[in-house]
Amino acid sequence: MVALEQDRTAGLALEVQSVSHAFDLHGAPLPVLDDVSLRAEPGEFVALLGPSGCGKSTLLRQVAGLEPPRAGRLTADGAPIAGPHPSRVVVFQDPTLYPWRTVWDNVALGLEAQGRLKANRGRVEEALRLVGLDKFAKAYPHQLSGGMAQRAALARALVNDPRLLVLDEPLGKLDSLTRIAMQGEIVRLWRDAGFTALLVTHDVEEALLMATKVVVFSERPARIKAEIAIDRPYPRHRDDPVLVDLRHRVLELLGLAESW
């Protein structure tokens, strides 16, 4: 596996300080985040786990700088997050590739937008190789399977050498086999490149397999219920007894102990 070379920068430190947020729904405020504070150390893999619709994705949009919080503060390496920046890249649940661009041109998007494409064309190819799509550089998105499209989206993020990779349920819509394969791949990419990763998921097993720290959220408005450090070596196995125990505990936190 080839890692992206040159100006490799370690992950950044992300700090979320008592962030609260609400949406306006028919004139009445609908609180989605309630006094959320958490910290991701450089190079850490933090999974945000919670029931769907609890407000995790809102938090991610704030981390990406796409939306400001109503209250509280977010900082990257101590500097407040005021807007989007290519050092913090998001992979969304839908790959949202541009249908009018080939896979190659989609992956090149960030470099092109930053005006750095001419000098870095090789990196586009490298990123494509990294996710195993080098043979599909000239294909259009509608010719890709769901898994391949999500890989292309991953390459589009990685080509920018992000210091924080924000993953918003990136595997949520994939079939279970592709999902298992890509969980392993994302972990490998993270370990090779050294960025900080922030993963939103509602899949307990996925969080336990991938993350070094799992943050469990409550129902909306999202409040942090627990932070669980997972000190297990990679690659992890689903039947690792420690993980099985943790899974039980997390499901209990989510109020689903009965159903296991």
Binding site: P86, V90, L109, G110, A113, Y140, S145, R156, N160, T178
Partner: protein, 337 residues
Amino acid sequence: MKAVQNATAFGPDGVPATDTPPAERLWLGGLAASAAWLAAAALTALWPDADEWGRTGEYASLLVVVGGALAFATPTLRWLGAVGKRLRAAVPWLLVLALGLSVWEVMTAKLNLLPRPFFAPPQALLEVYLDDWPRLVECLVASLKLLLTGYGIGAAVGLVTGVSIGWSRAVAYWINPVLRLIGPLPATAWLPIAFFAFPSSWSASVFLIALATGVPVTILTWSGVASVNPAYYDIARTLGASNRFLVLKVAVPAAMPHVFVGLFMGLAASFAVLVVAEMMGVKAGLGWYLQWAQGWAAYANMYAALLVMAGVCSGLVTLLFRVRDRLLAWQKGMLKW
């Protein structure tokens, strides 16, 4: 994990491979068409005209040439490749065309069944093309120049306006009411005003054609930009895109399928305005030729010009389709309209 799920998407364009018809049927069709054209030629040449027409001989020769060419092409159809394939598909049409020309010939030149001078025989049209072609070419060039100038300006202004409305709330606030008021008005309604407000009837016509083109292009571009998936912007913004990049590299290409619908509507509208403008004020062009021919009761000239006009309009529409297919190749297999 490199398997392509949708294998057909990579396959060749989905024209189902038709079995080549057996040789006899191929020959039969081609020869029948050839025979029909030769028969039409014989009918034209051998049956004397009711009144003498100038170019009956030339017209018959033309029919012989077509019939002969078909006779020669038939045995080689198999080896003519794409041309042969299209020719094969056209055989029924060629047959009916020969039949139709014969009926036309008999009804007009041979039996004088249709009132003259309103109905001219085919050889009269040929006469116009043979004798008056310099003027027809001149008119054709004038029409194309006027049409393309107006259409080009209208399309460009429409595109810019549509993108601005779709992008900026302030622009939308000022432009939308104006668009709503004048948009539904046919561009030809401006004709009397345009002809005195502009220094020449030519510039007035350019304005009218541009207006007829610009309105649908503006509205469709605007709706295209407005319906862009907002996630496309989020992606580009997190990757460090400037506003300029968001407009030019995200909004515009994403809106292109809509823009082309507008361009097609604009083209159709521009034809209508072109003809009216040329009939009303401009002293050149195919519309003017039509008007002029009618004034002289030269109905054959009218039909001849009408035929040229039909060819030009259909040719331009085909051209626009080609451009669209090239620019929107990424849509292949996604949607068809």
